[in-house]
Symmetry: D2
């Protein structure tokens, strides 16, 4: 029986982190990858991602993936953001998914379902 | 035999995406989660993360996790960034890890190991 | 004889830059104000500004100033962004208004009026 | 008759705002320039500016202007950031320099000179 868990380890965040680490080591780029510099690189990539959406209406932003040029660019920018986020977490020794789940649990406490329904002011996480 | 693959599905990015989706649906926040708005939320969280590093020296940024107050804040901000990035990819129907791996493969072609070693100008991905 | 200099110097960008410089010097903060760090601080403040708008509809964003809580926060965040932008330009020896005007002139060449009217794709500057 | 207006109006922030307004109106781009969209455009430009500094050491960032390629790009990006910040303040009816000065006054109260000298933790404004 084929299961999703037979997927190669490299489809996980841990696998991705290891691939990026090797990519950086092979090029001797580890010296540039301080957390400070990686946070800046992450901000730069997020800036490019935001720029893809800046003039779109909310409706256009929902349909962006179907539009081949902008859709490809959005996917590529999301890939870039994920690369730097994964790398930053890796050099800091942080488990990305655990950090997100802990924060989500905190948000669940802060925004109980009753009292938060449909409120834009609280639509954070 | 214990294997990493026995870990619950929720430790994967797919599992995280499903948890965030349910969190948003329970609060009827899906209406606010257009790609445009989520890109902005992502930028906001990255801004908070960058702020944690802004006055640190490169060396201090490497040691930040050992410093309990700033270290906890950095981990929490990384969690927030991951939440919005995962949510954005989910509403767009993009596989986060695949998008990152495709981009990494492109960078490997663009920056061949020979000729890229130790060059700050090219220390992107 | 009335001269432009009768307007207090502090209402100009040059005056603002001088005030911020003195503020930093009095606190011995110049040591932290490298261009790299200031660019990060600027990104952090822009993140806070973007966060104010993230869940607003386009229409709500137009009316935000009339809403006293969010309106005050938006004005304060714009002030913070201007402080760090002015400071960054000052430490680099760049005239902020000249840099903007030069870029605007370049955009005018790149986007001639005929051919750019009403086109979202080009609505940059 | 000597007037403050003998200095060309365009060297002030007000003059710059008027030039950008005309630039947008001539191209019928006002429709895209909601505060929400302009905040995103600002974030995008700041991302490009941060990217210029991401791999530089603090020392290299201080010398960046003397390096003709990166120096020109930094000046151009600062120009772009100033354009969108000025435009955002203009459509919101906010005086950019006053907003900055008010915020600086608030910081002066929050960080009295005695007690703030040389402290990185407080090196904000």
């Amino acid at each position: 029986l084929v299961q999703r868990n037979t997927a190669p380890v490299t489809t996980s965040v841990d696998g991705l982190a290891a691939e990026i680490r090797r990519f950086a080591e092979e090029r001797d780029w580890g010296q540039f990858h301080t957390p400070k510099n990686l946070a800046m690189a992450l901000a730069g990539e997020v800036g490019e991602l935001v720029a893809e959406f800046q003039w779109l209406t909310p409706e256009e932003s929902i349909a962006v993936i179907a539009d081949i040029g902008p859709g490809d660019r959005v996917r590529a920018e999301i890939g870039d953001v994920m690369i730097y986020l994964t790398r930053l977490a890796d050099v800091l020794g942080i488990d990305l998914v655990s950090a997100a789940r802990d924060k989500l649990a905190e948000s669940a406490r802060r925004y109980p379902i009753e009292g938060s329904r449909g409120s834009a002011r609280k639509a954070g996480t």
